[in-house]
Amino acid sequence: MQKIVEPCKRIENNGNIKILLKGTNIDHVEFELPEIRGFENILIKKKVHDIPRIASRICGLCHASQAIVSNKVIEDMYGITPPSQSIILRRILLIGELIKSHIMHYFFQSFPDLLKIINFYEISNPYELMQFDPQLTSSVFDLIKLGSEIDKIFGGRYVHLITCISGGVIYKPSQLNINLIRKLLQKGSSHAKYLIGNFIKLFSTKTPPISFDLPKINYLGLSNHGFYDRYKGKIVIKNYKNQLYFSEKDYQSYFNKDIGIFGVTFHQNNNIGLITGPIAREKINQISVIERIAPYFKTINENWNNSILFQNFLELIEVDHEIHQCLKLLNDDSLNKCYDLPDLGEIQKSEGIGVVEAPRGLLMHHYKIDQNESVIQAKLFIATEINIPLMNFMTLQYARNLYKKEAIDKVKKKIAQMIRAFDPCISCATH
């Protein structure tokens, strides 16, 4: 058996493509993570109040999701609810994070692949990419800046926010800052529209390769009574005929994990048949039916609907949708009212669970603490960890088919494109 290991480029952080060749066949393909950093271990014996600052450091792209979900766990243990102003601020911080994360992935990592796969147009470096459509590039930089500025103004800095604490957000936005972000969002809305239009112009009438089609799978995500909501809702596992709704408190009836070992185990479904992230959010909550968004979907060749490459389009749609959500949140009266943060008081229960939807999908933390309010067990459920088995399954099928007619070097390059379409977050996954 011959083993080939090669770094996968244009992804967040480091990961390898591992291929095992047996004779003239590909026996195994795996996206190999360099190591597990051990945050489930790092959190042990830490005081609950200290946890969110450390948890944020799991990921520099999904930092707001990690900090906010961590605070939700602590609030669950103390039995407190943040004031409505803080909940709005947390939603805004999650939006800032998503805009930046999705746009960085779409433009720098996936867009050159789309051009290559769909339009057979080769882009060989970031400078060629930036010159491909200067207006697109300028919109991309402006949108990255928009996401960044939202988190800097409301969260205190671009990455690893200062203001997210248990009980709420320590920031009372000034009218000046609200107006500034509103202006940036309005501009951002036209940039998002340009990016979506650009996608439609370049790709909508074409058919993505069938190899990128998803098998029959289950979709995992949050749903707030059937609506798209990344802060609050029930967990949903949906397939073409059934859907299960359950509270995060009951997750152990449906899935679980071993601490310190990579991977989440789903009791009813095998992991290969499960995806979380933009595709799952769309299948569960259907933002495509929203009046303002529906026309975009009507222009897309329906062969895209079941392709992992459709995730790229959905990222742009989510950016557009969340910009509009953010504009609504800025007009919410609660944002201007002065609310006191609740006193944490006495701890109510020795374990807590929190869930949000990070840009790449469902994110859940579960902590147990002792009588000194120190963590004795931490379980972190990460979106990329959930998606990797499906990604490995699809890349294996793809590689086997390619290897019948192409050299291994080309196979490696092509399966890297599929990996990038999944947008793996390695920092999160190597928690």
Binding site: G38, H63, S124, P126, M130, K145, S148, K152, Y158, I165
Partner: protein, 252 residues
């Protein structure tokens, strides 16, 4: 002539690279240099020759040592980007893992510290690099520029019992006072300034992510600890005085 740049990650959260994309100067930095090797956005497979290398993350594996040694040979200047690369970083809170700073294995030409590096400091460092100047970091501590500092004399009489303020403190309309006088641990006295006191201004104490202003972290922390009146609980709490720089303390 445009500078040829390499940017890579070791063991990290990618937060320093994420911050790089957010900087006001990033589009110009991109245009004015030639970012030739940056696996986050380029496909380049082999190392070439570079003017500047920025390395994020700490060293946790043998293969990373070989890689940074190769980078050292390939780049005229090598900079540690962020506190993991500069001091080892937060992974050292783990009992099972150790993350070492780059300087344990290669000579670095400078550090851009912080978790993540503060935007103004990071932006200024990039400008300096573009102008072929050395990175200058302050050797003063956080207290020097702290808005909560009242007078020059510290009296560490208050028993330090908490890691962060109580939520009641955030609701108070009174002007906040120095964290240490309120019984909250603040690492400001032993931490380099350079972040415009971002955490402190937002109401949170300094965690020490910019590292020590003096070369001797050990004597710094030791002196600070000897002055503090810590609660029994905090005396045994691990990781608060060296959250981002434990390897430097051990190396002593």
């Amino acid at each position: 002539m445009e500078l040829k740049i390499l940017i890579i990650s070791m063991t990290s959260c990618s937060g320093c690279i994420s911050t790089l994309f957010s900087l006001d100067i990033f589009p110009q930095f991109f245009e004015k240099t030639k970012i030739a090797y940056f696996p986050f956005i380029t496909d380049e497979e082999k190392l070439d020759i570079y003017d500047i290398a920025l390395i994020e993350g700490c060293i946790t594996q043998e293969s990373q040592i070989r890689l940074i040694q190769e980078v050292r040979r390939a780049a005229k200047k090598v900079y540690s980007l962020g506190s993991c690369a500069a001091f080892g970083g937060i992974i050292n809170l783990s009992k099972k893992k150790e993350g070492e700073p780059l300087s344990n294995y290669i000579e670095v030409d400078g550090i851009i510290p912080g978790c993540p590096p503060p935007s103004s400091l990071f932006g200024n460092c990039l400008i300096n690099l573009l102008e072929n100047k050395m990175i200058k970091l302050s050797n003063k501590n956080q207290c020097y520029s702290c808005p909560l500092r009242d007078g020059l004399d510290y009296e560490y009489k208050t028993k330090i019992t908490d890691l962060i303020p109580n939520n009641r403190d955030f609701n108070s309309t009174q002007n906040p006072k120095c964290f240490l006088t309120r019984g909250i641990l603040c690492l400001g006295p032993v931490t380099r300034e350079g972040c415009e006191n971002k955490c402190i201004i937002r109401g949170m104490p300094c965690e020490g992510c910019l590292g020590s202003p003096s070369k001797s972290l050990y004597s710094n922390i030791y002196n600070f600890l000897s002055l503090l009146n810590l609660s029994d609980d905090l005396k045994t709490y691990k990781g608060i005085f060296y959250r981002y720089s434990k390897p430097l303390l051990i190396k002593r």
